[in-house]
Amino acid sequence: MAVPWVSDLTLLAAILATLLPLCSFLVVMLFTRSHPRISAGLSIGAMSVSLLCALFLLNEHWHMEKPLEYAGRWLVSGSIEIPFGFLLDPVSLLMLAVVAVIGFLIQIYSLGYMAGDPGISRYYAFMSLFLWAMMSLVVAPTLFQLYIFWELVGLSSYLLIGFWYEKFSASQAGKKAFIMTRAGDVAMFLGMLLILLHLGNLSILEIDSPALAARMSPRLLTLSALLIFGGIIGKSAQFPLMTWLPDAMQGPTPVSALLHSSTMVAAGVYLFERLFPFFFFSPDAMTFGLFIGTLSMLLASTMALVTRDIKEIWAYSTISQLGYMIMGLDAGAFFSGAFHLTTHAAFKALLFLCSGVLIHTFETNDIYELGRKGGRSLKVPMACCCIAAGALAGLPPLSGFFSKGLILEGLADLSNPVWLIAALFGAFLTAYYAFRPIFIILFPREASGEPEVHSATSTSKDHSAGHSSSHYWLMGWPLILLAGATLCLGFLKAPLEHFMGQTALPGVKGIGHPVWLLYTEIILAVGGVGLAWMEFGRRCAQQVGFVEKIPALHRLFAERWYLDHFYGWFVDRVIDRGVSALFTQNDHRVIDGSIDGISRGTVETGRLISHMHLGMVQYRLLAMFVVMVLLAFYFFF
């Protein structure tokens, strides 16, 4: 087999995979905005081709020895060059495939979910933009290119979260997401600058090589790692920048599915994976990351215990699962994080899509109401939902069990047992909150009396009449496929581990397998599910969780540990009244004054000059003449 030919084909596939969504975005925005069917078709068509390309790439390079890097140079002038291109290695190939698969399925699903929405072309255009940004982020060979698409991902998620911009809360949520992630991005940008100053370029392969560690002093290394970690915190909604994610539920549900599983928040963890060796060089940053990951994981789990909004529950679970991934990575177990990212993408997308069907049908987000209105009558979504929740809880033999187990193993290797204990506790909570909504929906209590039941049955009839079955199945097929993936992915652990381990990364240790850990994990998961059953599933259960029995704790969790209040207070008091008042004064008096002065002066000068140009032709000729003569005079001095 001729090698150049192969690499050319690879390059072609990579270009196609990343560029087609952009093309469909442009075409839809420019030409087919008024034809929703064509737009959707275009966008799905483009996505399916890029899916094929991504799978082809994964298949082609299943046995790769070293990362492939394609670099072009953009704008070479003098000594300045900005390289761009593709970096194909196991990390990016796997992620590319994950993004493509999830994106494709969600686009199909959206056909049913968004049917009849007036903005469907816009929706598909933004979706394509989003996927383009994410896929290009995945294959970026330099931190600079990655950063560009990182911002684009943020921008397009802003557009999608605020998709129903008529809704005030939706546009507010969009803004919140944008601003909070921006706060992290500023830190990340500073970190990038630090690296750039010391390394001279931002090539990921070079940052990952030990050469960087040799060039920077340990402190600077830690500092830059922490700054970049700041970007990850913002993007992956970790503590303390976590509150935007639950609010981001305002967008259409498929968007949430995409956002939570494989694109927006996953980008943060992906960056961590990408720069894993770099972080590995700085133990302090690793410990800090471990701390943040654990904290976010626990906080989010507790928040998920009490909320009644089904999408919010999954949103909190995303935060806590991302916390798990970061814990795993920070514990030095590279593969565990990557693997959990992959399995999580599948089951989290599945969870959201299932909830999407429920929400779409019953038009409510409240789990109790969903149960009352007959959520259990939707067999396929509920079955899939159970599978996904099982994976989330870490029940064997679902995929989540394997990946979470790997993380726990990684944590068990650490000398400090605190992390492991916290993670185990988190696993218990996860199992509990994952099954709480399931049981509530499956076993509704007719607490509010007969009429409710009646109306529930009638709505479900309405549903079968109102929504054509083709829409239902459009949404159903992706669910079944994803459920299959959730079931099977766990057994791909060994081949994937082999695949990921091929390009030897530092810090990947051979991990022993303590058997007791496995059992503890299973016991805790089953225990969590059991507790949920006791409180919500049993025939005579009151459907009141143990947390809700302690009002103080309940309020604390429901108010998100008062984080939003704190931000509100902070923004209001410290920033608005203190700092910003000062700056406003400065703005008004000094800056505005001078800027106004300058701009007014500019405009006035413009008027004056254009006035001067209105003179008679003789004067113009005179002016030309005089200027030339004066220029000649200049020679004598």
């Binding site: 004067y619 005179l622 005089v626 003569v629 004066l630 000649a632 005079f633 004598f636």
Partner: protein
Amino acid sequence: MSFLIGTEAIAHVAFWIVVGLTFGGAVIAVFPRNIIYNVLGLVMALSGVAGLYLYLGSFFIALMQLLIYVGAICISIVFAIMLSRPLHLEVPKRSVPKVAMAAGASAIFFAAVVGVIFKSNWVPAPEQSGDWSVVTIGHLLLTRYDLVFEVISLVLLVAIIGAIVTAGYSRRFSS
């Protein structure tokens, strides 16, 4: 009085006459208020310049100067005057600022030219090499400068079209 009859003296006298013609013509071209006088002054000045060429030994250029500037350009200016403002109408007053500006511009131009002349270390012109007769010029026009020659014909074509177009304008304008 031998200096009066020497050829060199005659040449001197001729030179100063020619210079006088040029300057006098220039003054007449600028100052009188009657535009016909101005044109006649221009004719005088240009003839003076032709005399200077003669003095420098360029018969051909002197001839061309007379033919083109005195013969063609000044006559067309006269035509232009005839076709424009009737002479019996009152002439607009001179405005002092305009005169001042014109005088200032001319003054600095003069200064610049003088500066250039004094700053440059002029080399004596090379001796006339070869033959600069009309035959040679004609020859050169059709060999070395044939591109220029042909392009000039295009320029004339375009100029004629322009004349037709603008003539159409004035015809419509007057009717």
